[in-house]
Amino acid sequence: MTALDVLLAGALPVLAWRALATDDLHEAVVFFIALGLVAALAWARLDAPDIALVEAAVGAGVTGSLFVTTLRARGLRPPASPAPRRARIALAVLTIASALGIGAALAALPAEPPGLGELVRASLPETGVQHTVTAVLLNVRGYDTLLEMAVLVAAVLAVLARAPSPSARPAARPAAPDDDPARPLIAVLARLLVPGIILVAGYLLWRGAFAPGGAFQAAAVLAGGGILAILAGRRAPDPHARAVRRGLVFGPGAFVLIAAVPLIAGRHVLEYPEGWAKVLIVAVEVALTFSIALTLVLFFPASGEKGT
């Protein structure tokens, strides 16, 4: 344990507390983003670069910018009266109880956990990829990832339900009003960064086969680029456009298809045919990256529309 670890471990609860305790929502959001970045560093120190990447991109980046946009669009004020005392006490008891429970479970673990790590490493050659996390996510436990995609699809359905339907929308406003003095600056930033962001996303996607990286990380980075482009004045994708809807279905659809085809041959769901595992996993990851990025970008204008 180094001084850095002590600093990280100490900073996490302090940042979390400040994010919750402040009365100023803007301040809370800033602390939340800082918390995400420090948590990403902590994951990196714990040798979990996959989680660190997701935490930095989704936890701090995409979620943080969603919070900021929501605040800017709606100017939310914190509730005038705090939650009732009884509710707060109940929450505190629940939180402390679950923290104690997790702590007790951790303490009860054997020093050398008999986890499935060895098993995964031993069967890595059969999975078609060389990185254990990707092997688990898309081969050994592909079912879990499939269900995660279902969660994302459900979330994007909520966005679609909330987006004004084409007929109810007021006559198209003149493209992005240019009264925002920040826009030219953000446009410069987008021009400088978006090409690099696309490159990094492609790299993360390809790397997933043999090192930390993969569809979710690549998609989060790609979505960050998309959000930057929207902030710079690019038109946000219209959730009712046919092409956008097809793009949303593309990833999960391809995954379901590849998962279901073995059934025809009398095999199990998600059983990749001998020798095809790598090709199919990369195909699924490419399709998923595209759809997840589009999903994340669609969350953005839904909360950023002004005056709706």
């Binding site: 920040a182 600056l185 960064l193």
Partner: protein, 100 residues
């Protein structure tokens, strides 16, 4: 300790000094514009020295180049976010501090 180590240590110390100066400025300067000035100028330079110091030690050109790219990206984003914060403050009617 080789000459390279000495140069690296000197650069890292210079970087730390600039970070310290920037942080003191952030805490002590009177208004948002002055604080931005302290923070972005000093930290960008401090990060530059730190990156140069580390690049001397890694002994791998590819890693040293990656460190350089990191610095360039931070330069771009911090200079633009500095401008964004300052413009927002200006639009909100925050007057620059004057000696009373």
């Amino acid at each position: 300790m080789s000459l390279l180590d000495l140069a690296s240590a000197a650069l890292l110390l210079a970087g730390a000094a600039f970070f310290l100066a920037g942080t003191v400025g952030l805490l002590r300067f009177p208004d948002v514009y002055a604080r931005l000035h302290a923070l972005t100028k000093a930290d960008n330079l401090g990060l530059g020295f730190t990156v140069a110091g580390l690049a001397l030690e890694v002994g791998d050109v590819a890693v040293a180049l990656k460190l350089g790219i990191t610095w360039a990206l931070v330069l771009v984003s911090s200079s633009i976010s500095c401008q964004l914060v300052a413009r927002t403050a200006m639009n909100a009617g925050v007057r620059p501090w004057r000696r009373p």
